[in-house]
């Protein structure tokens, strides 16, 4: 018995279509109203500034206030929801000025010509060329354009608890052997040498994977060769992950063996709370963790050092990332105002103060040396440009690298791990090359 299935007399199909068409048109109309329109009213240009760090909204509010006081003809609206950027592009209504963490995803925007060329702006000359190289190494639009200027460089290494180091008479290690010896000392004293937070897989790829890879091979060169090979990559090619990363993997497992018990069920927030309480001597995290650690324990004395992965001191490098890079979107109707704002942001008083306050490094050539004791241990590496961008940041987001690293740390099967990376890389190259 099907009661509800009778009575489908042919509904006037044409009438129905007409109605649907009208409804559709009515729904489209209000949407088309939000295209890119010049936003000047009463001689005041409104800029939309999207920055990628929700935790520094207050700082930029102050910066914007000062800027507006000097430039009464410009009004700046701050947007810290980075998730709006791609939808903005799709709607053809992106913000005028953008800061983004510069890595694979942003480099992809550069390749697609989303950003304007900033090469002719005078401030571009004040940037440390080594740091600009961190951006241009990802590829430049039209081969020579400067699509982004670094604003803040974050350097990551091993965060250590100075009190625990001093209490056990351990000095900052400068070679892999010294590092292992330090870990053994802590272990013998009943202190977890490293606090692991494996439940958040990004902490594994950011920490042990990037540090060990960056310390044992030339990451940038590896990826440029790998990319050049394209879809023709296989595990036995000289450019493959298998051929290059194999020697480094045992060191990752060695690092994992120095983590506290139960690292697999701890996440990043747990790690910050525990490390702040002095439950481990070292923590493979970047400067973003520092403020959290201090918030959890005001009295904690922290320092950082680049992880030595070989016994040659000259090889010791810091992992850096361009935490904020400034760009102007290519199609902005407010180019002149946007350039004035970018100029202002890169004035030493703005950019240096920001980086000083946020445990980061300024991109300006003549920036003062970093005095913050929490990161000063990385200062020499940054100054001498002994740094690399994390291997993990080179992966397209469609490769779930973090999960693969986590799988490797749990299962300890290095061959499977690297073969999977080679496979994934080849598949992405295959489908993006066409």
């Amino acid at each position: 018995m099907r009661a509800a299935r009778s009575g489908n007399a042919p509904i006037g199909r044409r009438a129905l279509l007409k109605f649907a068409g009208l409804a559709g048109a009515a729904a489209v109309l209000p949407l088309s109203g939000c295209g890119a329109t010049p936003s000047t009213q009463n001689g005041v240009t409104t800029l939309r500034f999207m920055q990628n760090k929700p935790e520094v909204v207050a700082y930029f509010n102050q910066v914007i206030k000062d800027f507006e006081a000097l430039n009464p003809d410009i009004r700046v609206i701050q947007d810290f929801n980075e998730g709006n950027f791609v939808p903005g592009l799709v709607r053809n209504d992106p913000p005028d000025v953008v800061t983004r963490g510069f890595a694979q995803a942003t480099a992809d925007f550069v390749k697609k010509g989303i950003f304007a060329d900033l090469a002719d702006m005078p401030v571009a000359a004040t940037i440390d060329p080594k740091m600009q190289e961190l951006i241009s190494s990802w590829g430049q639009y039209n081969g020579n354009e400067v699509s982004a200027l670094p604003f803040s460089l974050a350097a990551a290494g091993v965060i250590y608890n100075r009190d625990i180091f001093e209490a056990n008479g351990v000095a900052v290690p400068t070679s892999w052997d010294e590092f292992v010896a330090a870990c053994e000392t802590f272990k013998a004293a009943g202190i977890a040498p490293i606090y692991g937070t494996y439940k958040d897989p990004w902490t594994l790829s950011q920490g042990m994977f990037d540090y060990v890879a960056g310390g044992s091979l030339d990451v940038a060169e590896f990826f440029s060769k790998l990319t050049a090979r394209g879809a023709a990559i296989s595990a036995d090619a000289p450019e493959s992950f298998t051929s290059n990363f194999s020697p480094a993997l045992p060191k990752m497992l060695q690092l994992a063996s120095f983590a506290q018990n139960g690292a697999a069920s701890k996440n990043y927030a747990d790690g910050n709370a525990a490390f702040a309480k002095g439950q481990a001597a070292m923590y493979l995290q970047g400067p973003w963790a520092l403020s959290q650690l201090v918030a959890a324990n005001k009295g904690i004395r922290l320092g950082s050092f680049p992880l030595p992965v070989t016994n040659n001191e000259a090889d010791t490098k810091a992992r850096v990332n361009v935490d904020m890079a400034l760009s102007i979107t290519r199609n902005t109707p407010n180019m002149a105002a946007a350039q004035r704002f970018v100029n202002y942001l890169l004035e030493p008083s703005v950019v240096n103060t920001y980086n000083e306050k946020n445990a980061a490094f300024s991109p300006l050539k003549d920036a003062p040396a970093v005095e913050n004791p929490q990161i000063s241990g990385l200062g020499a590496s940054v100054k001498e440009a002994r740094y690399y961008q994390g291997a993990g940041t080179y992966f397209p987001p469609s490769v779930p690298l973090n999960n693969y690293v986590q799988s490797f740390v749990y299962g300890k099967n290095g061959d499977q791990f690297l073969a999977a990376l080679d496979d994934e890389w080849r598949r992405v190259a295959e489908r993006t090359a066409v």
Binding site: M1, R2, A20, G24, F109, K112, A264, P397, S398, V434
Partner: protein, 317 residues
Amino acid sequence: MTATSRVAQTAPPAGRNLPTSASAKTATLRSRNRTDPTYYWMVVPVLALFAFFITLPALVGVFFSLTNYAGYGDWKFIGLSNYVNIFKDPAVLQSYIFTFVFALATTVVVNVVALAIALGLNAKIKWRTGIRTVFFIPMVLSALIVSFVFNYLFSNTLPVLAERFGVTPLATSILANENLAWLAIVLVTVWQAAPGATIIYLAGLQSVPSEVYEAADLDGAGSFRQFLSLTLPLILGYLVINVILGFKGFLGTYEIIVGLTGGGPGMATQSVAMRIFSGFTGGDYSYQMANAVIYFLITLLISVIQLRLIQRRGVSL
């Protein structure tokens, strides 16, 4: 008349004008073509909204699955190579296997649990209304919040308890175990989904007239025999509905996994929906659109098979 056909009858008769003897002669033709316009006013706006917000975007997605579109910027047609590549991708295959195993297991467990709860709640027990309310609370909680709470329990509370009582296998979080994490997801999904199924079973149980049980009592049938030979056949339609709705829902599982494991540890609990969604953030839009189209076809096929099965059983959804 079975209980299930009674469900079907609660739907209002859709505009068939049963010709009465008086009007039959004069207006057979007209009455057949004439339907109360109210029904169109009910259906057409929804149809238009559905077409505009569901069908149209889906068609756009199908279109882009034939391109190399990243979600923004330039693109060009690449024919079917996205589809070809999907079939060569072991990570995608693994997500399909996981999703189907998960959906099957969860459907079975949800229905067993829900039926048991419904039988209990339908019996004459003390504080029945109060207990029913308690059982339905999981339904009103957001799945994401529930899974975050369970995440905390699995990662912190359970290991501490297990350590204290010496149950070593549970001393590390089962969410960190590649072979066991999916069980935690099944557990939380069951916890969340069982009340909904229970309500449907309760409705079914209440539609069974008490006379049949009295008759069975007189014939000397025990309670298990009564359940097997009376209750189960009489609520079979409800069981079918629960299985179908449940299975379809569990195939699209997403937020509970995000809250519990985020697809990990490793790649162990990546569902198809998660892989598809990763295309939006990963610049892999067209590739995952192809994945979505394939998944759509598979679920469509399953739905058609299930609908045929239902119709043979005489149930109408």
